[in-house]
């Protein structure tokens, strides 16, 4: 009959299942809250003083922002990365415990099953990223509604791409245990080389200005797509960009498209 509605219902059903499951998974929620607290409260507060200095009797910041402000958007990205990539566990779960067959024998097209699932995962990841926004006041970040909406939009697309990446990983990992180790060895290096905890060009004192990071590190930062996601969010949230502001959205949307296609190829094969 009215086929689009029928198909929409299916996507909605798969999406709703992911959301319902996420609300029942306390562990993940606790991680989503404790992670930003640790990063902002401990690392952020602890390193805040080192990010500024006195130059000719005047307090200056390395960049025109406090360290907490600088770190804040990166912690959002970190939270999204964890939740999105951990989403692969849900994919492995479905596969190993037989639930996948329930949807595979249904008339729903494979691509829409995947779409619903990824949309569910990215919604959860976006919400986890949004949890960080609650700490905005604490990090001395004020957001207008417009900024908030733009940030959430970008966060969702980023979450979508990373969730698809998680699905691709899930296709290559056989066990839950293996995945835990695997995801940590992917998430943290990506995070640290995304210019999340230090700016690429420190320029406070003369010595700092004279210091140049080793080329390999600069290369890794520039080659890391997460760098541009962090940069884009920084642009929206505190108005500071280290790169051309067009790169951020370009990379984020690019990742979403490329990884969705990769996930789709993987998923239709299984």
């Amino acid at each position: 009959m009215t086929r689009p509605i029928v198909l929409m219902r299916g996507v909605y059903g798969v999406w709703l299942r992911e959301i319902t499951r996420a609300t029942r998974d306390r562990g993940q929620l606790i991680g989503g809250i404790s992670r930003p607290l640790i990063w902002l409260l401990i690392l952020g507060v602890g390193l805040n003083p080192y990010f500024r200095g006195e130059v000719y009797g005047e307090v200056r910041y390395v960049i025109p922002y406090t360290y907490l402000q600088f770190l804040f958007p990166a912690v959002i990205v970190l939270n999204i990365m964890y939740t999105s990539i951990q989403f692969a566990v849900s994919v492995i779960w479905d596969r190993e415990f037989g639930f996948l067959r329930e949807v595979l024998v249904s008339p729903m097209p494979r691509a829409l099953i995947l779409l619903g699932k990824v949309l569910g995962g990215s919604t959860v990841a976006m919400i986890h990223g949004g949890l960080v926004l609650i700490l905005a006041r604490f990090a001395d970040v004020t957001l207008s509604l417009e900024q908030m909406a733009m940030a959430l939009g970008l966060m969702f697309v980023l979450a979508f791409g990373l969730t698809c990446f998680g699905v691709v990983l899930a296709g290559r990992v056989r066990s839950f245990e293996g995945f835990g180790v695997f995801s940590n060895t992917i998430i943290l290096p990506l995070y640290f080389t995304s210019s999340s905890v230090f700016p690429l060009d420190p320029a406070l004192t003369r010595t700092q200005t004279a210091t140049v990071y080793p080329e390999w590190l600069v290369f890794m930062v520039q080659a890391n797509p997460i760098t541009y996601a962090v940069d884009a969010l920084r642009g929206i949230i505190i108005g500071f960009n280290q790169f051309d502001p067009i790169y951020g959205p370009l990379v984020i949307f690019g990742m979403a498209i490329v990884f969705f296609i990769a996930a789709l190829i993987d998923f239709s094969r299984s």
Binding site: G10, L16, F99, E102, V105, S106, P107
Partner: protein, 324 residues
């Protein structure tokens, strides 16, 4: 609507070099209660997987409700309901949420979803559990919920892969009663796979499958009349007596726990046997023709899986007994 509900035409399937389905051909009429009977590993589940489009056949063609499972999988999926051998429920959702999910995925309207969910929950007597998380359910309750879910979207064909494992007799009876009613009213076709003989006594048609081949296909009564022998089940006093009997009667087939089965069609042979060995036996019993004995005659093995240690013995027995 005169075509068969399910047709399987010369279907083969293999895992690596191991053949699991060997040129199987079947035709199942609409509205029938068809049972696929065979031991574990006979290829039943593989056949079900092919019919519900989860696996492509390596050769041959199959169609359900007139739709080819390879070229028109979506059409085929619309007309089937499947209960898998092991649970495919989401155990973090409640019973109701599992049903609602199923309804959404099958594109049912909200009103239909509610009406049907209530109806199928009532069928399997889980109304009081509708908002409980499935994780807290017993095996039997999960099974019931799965059967309910498979019927939610009113399929034309229902696949039940080992459906009643863990169900009590009452529930089993009620579910079969309801399925029979659906067959009469809506011409529902039910395909059951099982290795429990009790399950198939009331099927219209029984197909016995072993090592990926169909070895018999007929209504149960006909099977019993045709292949059912009367058997003499005996328990030898000790191993020595057992070996002596087997040496004298090579047609004797070992069952589990040291007992033997002897064909008992010919009274003269039976009398002679009893006269010779009566002192070496601790137990003697006549077994009237049942589907179990049909299976024994056809394959030289008992149907039910014994403990692992005895499986090899059964295999050996199969070789000794030879196959018809």
């Amino acid at each position: 609507m005169t075509s068969a509900a399910i047709t399987v035409d010369d279907v083969s399937a293999a895992y690596g070099s191991k053949t699991v389905l060997d040129h199987v051909t079947l035709s199942i009429p609409r509205g029938s209660n068809f049972a696929l009977l065979g031991p574990n590993g006979a290829g039943k589940t593989t056949l079900i997987n092919i019919l519900c489009t989860l696996r492509k056949p390596d050769g041959g063609k199959a169609s359900v409700a007139g739709a080819d499972v390879v070229s028109q999988p979506t059409k085929a999926r619309q007309s089937i309901g499947v209960v898998f051998q092991d649970s495919s429920l989401d155990d973090r959702l409640s019973a109701w949420e599992n049903l609602d999910f199923h309804g959404l995925v099958y594109g049912m309207a909200p009103k239909d979803r509610r009406r049907r969910s209530e109806a199928v929950l009532a069928l399997v007597e889980l109304e009081d559990w509708r908002d409980e998380i499935v994780r807290s359910f017993s095996g039997g309750m999960r099974r019931r919920l799965e059967i309910a879910r498979a019927l939610l979207h009113e399929p034309e064909i229902l696949f039940l892969d080992e459906p009643t494992v863990g169900l009590d007799a009452q529930t089993r009876q009620r579910i079969w009663h309801y399925l029979d009613q659906l067959r009469r009213e809506r011409n529902l076709t039910v395909l059951t796979t099982t290795h429990y003989i009790e399950e198939v006594e009331n099927a219209d048609m029984v197909c016995i499958i072993d090592h990926g081949k169909i070895i018999a296909e007929a209504p149960p009564e006909q099977l019993k009349a045709q292949y059912g022998k009367r058997w003499l089940h005996i328990l030898p006093k000790d191993d020595l007596a057992g070996r002596a009997i087997q040496a004298r009667h090579p047609e004797a087939q070992p069952l589990g726990s040291h007992s033997l089965a002897l064909p008992a069609d010919d009274d003269a042979v039976t009398d002679a046997f009893l006269a010779e060995f009566r002192d070496s036996l601790t137990e003697v019993r006549f077994q009237a023709p049942t589907l179990e004995s049909v299976f024994l005659s056809l394959t030289g093995r008992e149907l039910r899986d014994r403990a692992d240690g005895q499986r090899d013995a059964e295999k050996a027995a199969g070789k000794r007994g030879g196959r018809r």
